[in-house]
Amino acid sequence: MMKTPGKSAPNEQTVSTYCYQCVAGPDLLKVRVQDGVATEVTPNFDAGVIHPAGGKACVKAFGLVQKAYNPHRILYPMKRTNPDKGRDQDPGFVRISWDEALSLVADKLNAVRAKGLTDESGYPRVAASFGGGGTPTAYMGTLPAFLAAWGPIDMSFGSGQGVKCYHSEHLYGELWHRGFTVSPDTPLCEYLVSFGANVEASGGVCGVKRHADARKRGMKRVQIEPHLSVTGACSAEWIPIKPKTDSAFLFAMIHVFLHEHPRARLDVPFLKHRTSSPYLIGPNGLFLRDPATRKPLMHDIATGRAVPFDAAGVEPALEGSFVADGIEIDADETIIPHERITVRPAFEHLVAHVKNYSPEWAASICDVPAATIRRIANEFLEHARVGETIVVEGTTLPLRPVSISLGKTVNNGWGGYECCWARTLIGCLFGALEVPGSTLGTTVRLNRPADNRWSSVKPGPDGFMQYPMNPTSKEDWISRPTVRSVHRTLVPLVADSAWSQALGPTHLAWMMQNENFENLPEASPPDVWFVYRTNPAISFWDTQAVGKAMAKFPFVVCFAYTRDETNHVADVLLPDCTDLEGLQLLRIGGTKYVEQFWDYQGFALRAPAVPPQGEAKDFTWIATELAHRTGLLEPYNAAINRGAAGIKLSGKNYDFSLAPEKAHDVETIWDASCRAASAELTDGAESQGLDWFRDHGFRVKPFARLQWYLYPKLVAEGLRFEQPYQEQLFRIGRELGRRLHERGIRWWDKQLTEYEPLPHWHDLNALWESALEKHYSVRIADYPFWLITARSMQYSWGGNVGIQLIKEVADNVAGHGNVVMNQQVAERLGIADGDIVEVRSPLNETKGRVMLCEGIRPDTLLMIGQFDHWATPFAKDFHAPSMNALVPMLIDLTDATGSSADLVKVKITRLEKAA
């Protein structure tokens, strides 16, 4: 056997594992272990062929060695001795045994079970908050099985989602094209308009590799954002747009396509047969339907009659006025009959809708010249290649190498609907949705089954895909919220999957701890709150309010790596194995998040590279102990057997189910999982277990590239994309309004206005400014800057702020730890590079050192990442500014999906001159 290069210790080995610190993972990697000590992270070139980025791991993975040996780790279970909680209180943590720690937790849980799993208001007495994007599940072993065994758990206390995610895209993307996350088909795309989507920072190794390859191919990416991010830097063009005006730019692009070019430049067949463009719209804004079948009608050019959308051999009209009979179905199944009324297709409504949204109109809103907007639209159109095809795995598909991506502040909160709608619609205009080269969804999280996107496509009403909206009918509307964010009650789009609690107005759960919302059940604090891989005390919006709310929680259990701002209020700290110490099998491949498009699917093992430090325990051991001590072993094991830990243990030709009554050890559980994985991948032919995976690291089988694209599945099912006309949302919004008003809830009225069939442009700058003025009684002119944030590849999601190596290398990337400001404006204000400034919003202030640059709009300030640490060792000495404490939680700034944007108006004052 060939030894590895370099100075090798006498006792050296290499261990395969993965890094899933961020949602763009997993990255497969190897760890070099010398004398039992992890010393080096390297790519896993064994996965070079099967991994889209050649087995490479991103910079965050290189922090894992220091993570294991960080002297600030919590290495023993601890309990709080100071009953008073709060930032100003010393928790007085003292070391205890695991037995005592688990008994403390189990006693609380058993007391909850005795009282009832939900409180008087119907809210779960046990709550849990986990880090973003589901990444903690790659580290929490079998804890999901324990949670499943437990029963109702409130997971709606937000820790960043809603402002830090792609919230509107998650909901509307999943509705329109099974795109919980949305991506260009980068390997084939030739023209990409990116509205602040910071893929070079957030796209992970697959995103970075695919975009670098695309640049070498000549793909033109136009980055439209207020500051020049790393993604803007790597783009062909940067267009500095005024914050939160992206929808105007997009609407103007639609205007150019529909009012400045002949229809033949569009993909007319796609519009006619794969969208609702030809559906006739009744006078009340609802589809005109066939009274007998209730199917939406189209005008057939050949026969000159209105026919149901699925009638055979129809050549539907996209434009024109037609006389037809039919019905509209309004909220609550109210039928409105019509005879010989004049109606027009949805497409013609669309054309009229965008008539006034010209580039000249958008120019002053976006602070971008009309000629630039028009040029971008025209370049997009020139690259769309309407009519061309490509063969993918033997199937001929349209080739449309144009796409639009949206960043998170574009996506979140008010305006998110408009932007997601416009982006998806533009795709439809050119047939550039879910076909090679175009805009694709990457994963489903709300529809079921979620194993791949195709299997989630089921025929729904009106020729569209079925979508699991939360009910809004009188009978089924969930008037009594199931969790404190009230998500299913307020937001039909969040559906009811395991992921739904992460969506919707998660800030409401926090707000309700401090204030009552009219006609909602009072929200008591949870009796027990579990926290893992998240730090909402610094990572949410209005972190001061969040911190105060959590200090009132009576019993908080934190799985703790180091001390931090959230576990400052913990009653028990439980040290779990870090990334290189724990054992877990993870499903990999297929299509998943961001730019994770694989040609393979299978499983990877996170094998322990080194023994746990101190008394840190494997998460699976902790979960099993909790199940055992709460008398839930049987349902816990049953949940594992069902697949709650990532893989179902039985299938056709194989059964590795665990005996339900026993407490199994960690290796037994994962050995069974590995065997089931081997069997699943080989249709039961093979059953190699943990040892095989330890030796090989991962196991995969091919995944058809055709499944990257939803279009062939829609064609096979005879379905259409639900674009451009949002009749379903319009009707549901009206129903939801009735339900809320029936219950006397009026504080969600503004959100109800967002349920428009064709979204209008809204002046979001004015909306933000007026909300801040109203709530804080300030003169908004005193706050002249927009404060925005940007993602950091080095830090985001990683929980790695206490790791020296990450800080060291992040400091090489401009802007980290600074208030980034336009140089010319700073000169006018007498602020110099390196000065210490206070940045104040109407809510709060933060301090930091100024970094001047030219790559930012004069009206914008930028703070990268999230750094508000005052307890986390190492990080608390950064003195870095953070916008999280500055952004208020306001219902006025919450959109219909329950999200808001990381955006606030601020003023800047110099405190100290640069040294």
């Binding site: 100075k7 490479k56 600030h72 070498k216 000549g218 063009e237 590079d833 030219e854």
Partner: protein
């Protein structure tokens, strides 16, 4: 032949620093010791702004200034072009660090760790041999050698390829043999446009930067003049523009000050001693000064116990030559002072002059410091040394009233040298101003110019004029001499510790990104591009 080179594709690089972290892991370097890192450079004025990510590190120059200056032969070059450091030979003098125009070398005097105490992984990989010596990127030569021994192609097989290249998630870094026309790197360099950083310095670096496809139109020609000017304007350049070198401090300056003064004083003492034997005692002061200067160097270097290795490479290194000259000079000068033999005094004076020249040449060969490497530094250092020596000699000669003629000629000589020094200083500065230099260097030099003129020439001129006019006022000649000497010391102190800004980083072109054009050159912090 084989020549290993690194090719960095600026169109691909996203500045993620994965290579930086991977290098830190693979080579177990200390915190902040980044043999490989990626610069984040911004050029232009809002809204026409370009931001570029540029991997840097040791360029493994074919003509490496670091190797030429190394007094110990610790820095060598392999047949395949890789520039190496032998940690067992290096004395930590940091001469290579000021000679390198790429800021690629590091000198760590004490072990330091990620947190307060060494963590387990740091204990496991602590390499005491690296403390107090120069260190830098090795092109992971251990991996390259391992690959060759095992029939693996460096640059293609990861086991034979530098860790930074292996880790690069954008496939921006490539490694290979540029002498093989069929290699990966040769193909890339054929198919794409490339440049090398600071190639005008003649270092022939082995680090190539790709900035566009071979058939891309030339941006410089295509760019509207207004935009080109804008792109050369405002810059966010922290960490990119020239920065003050940190390796040679007041102790290093002390060697140039004491060495220059001492050797200058010795020259005049020895020459005067031919006629006035009693003056020869001053020679001991000169020797003392020179010895003090060398002692200060001893205090500064990382491995003083190995200082004898400084003699290993007089073939190339002026620092080694300085040491050899000193080794010959001190016994010879002592013998001359004791014996007062004219021939010995003359030879010793000549060697003292050589010592002065060697100090001038040390600075001249520091290719990484624009203020030092210009040719005018040679006459400046020599004349300054002589002027200082003459000033000190004048101050001493006044104590010998019997030698009126000596005092007068000493005063005139000192004045003449001070004037010559002022003229050389002016020429030196004019050269820097006209040829281009770090703006901060120019600022520093401009800042001291008036002071230097007043103290170094104007005041001494007046004092000498008065002093020579009246024997009563003769003692003010002492002040004149000390002024001339002090001005020289001040000048050298500033030259070493304040104006020693390094080369900084520069791009010949900013890259294409998918579509469009490559951009104009970027050279932040320089008076001329």
């Amino acid at each position: 032949m084989t020549r290993w080179v690194m090719v960095a594709d600026l169109e691909r690089c996203v500045g993620c620093q994965t290579c930086t972290a991977a290098c830190r892991h693979a080579n177990a370097t200390s915190p902040a010791v980044q043999w490989r890192k990626v610069l984040d450079i911004e050029a232009g004025s809002y809204p026409n702004v370009n931001r570029v990510f540029v991997p840097v590190g040791c360029q493994h120059c074919a003509d490496p200034p670091c190797m030429h200056v190394c007094p110990t032969t610790a820095t060598r070059q392999r047949a395949d072009g890789i520039v190496t450091i032998d940690y067992e030979l290096c004395i930590g003098c940091a001469y290579c660090e000021v000679a390198c125009p790429y800021q690629a070398r590091f000198l760590v005097h004490e072990p330091h760790f990620a947190y307060e105490a060494a963590t387990q992984n740091e204990v496991e990989r602590l390499d005491a041999a690296r403390i107090g010596v120069a260190q830098k990127c090795t092109f992971c030569s251990d991996r390259v050698d391992f690959g060759i021994q095992n029939g693996l192609m460096p640059g293609e097989d990861p086991r034979a390829t530098p860790a930074c290249v292996n880790s690069c998630i954008a496939d921006a870094l490539h490694f290979g043999d540029v002498d093989d026309p069929n290699s990966n790197v040769s193909r890339l360099l054929r198919e794409q446009r490339s440049f090398r950083m600071h190639a005008e310095l003649g270092t022939d670096p082995s680090f190539h930067y790709l900035y566009g496809k071979a058939d891309d139109p030339d941006r410089d020609a295509a760019l509207p003049a207004s935009q080109a000017a804008g792109a050369a304007g405002r810059l966010r350049t922290r960490g990119v523009e020239p920065s003050q070198q940190q390796h040679w401090d007041w102790k290093a300056a002390g060697n140039f000050i004491c060495g220059g003064m001492g050797s200058g004083l010795f020259v005049f003492t020895a020459l005067a001693g031919l006629a006035h034997g009693e003056l020869v005692h001053l020679g001991w002061i000169a020797l003392g000064l020179m010895a003090l200067g060398l002692f200060l160097v001893l205090l500064k270097i990382g491995r003083p116990l190995r200082s004898i290795y400084v003699l290993r490479q007089p073939q190339r290194s002026w620092m080694a030559r300085e040491a050899w000259i000193a080794a010959i000079f001190f016994p010879l000068a002592a013998l001359a002072l004791v014996s007062r033999l004219p021939i010995l005094l003359i030879v010793a004076a000549a060697i003292a002059g050589l010592f002065l020249c060697s100090q001038a040449m040390i600075l001249k060969e520091a290719k990484g410091i624009p203020a030092w490497r210009v040719s005018w530094i040679i006459p400046l250092m020599i004349v300054t040394g002589l002027a200082e020596g003459s000033g000190l000699f004048l101050a001493a000669a006044v104590q010998f009233p019997a030698a009126d003629l000596l005092v007068t000629s000493s005063a005139l000589t000192a004045l003449l040298l001070a004037a010559l020094r002022a003229w050389v200083w002016r020429s030196y500065r004019n050269t820097l101003e006209s040829d281009g230099a770090p703006t901060e260097t120019l600022k520093v030099l401009r800042g001291i110019s008036l002071r230097f003129f007043v103290v170094g020439l104007a005041i001494p001129s007046v004092l000498i004029a008065f002093g020579m006019a009246s024997t009563v006022l003769a003692n003010i000649l002492v002040a004149a001499g000390l002024c001339i000497a002090a001005a020289g010391a001040y000048l050298k102190f500033i030259l070493i510790t304040r104006s020693g800004f390094n080369q900084g980083f520069a791009l010949v072109h900013t890259p294409v990104r998918g579509a469009g054009f490559s951009g104009p050159s970027v050279k932040p912090g320089w008076s001329m591009r």
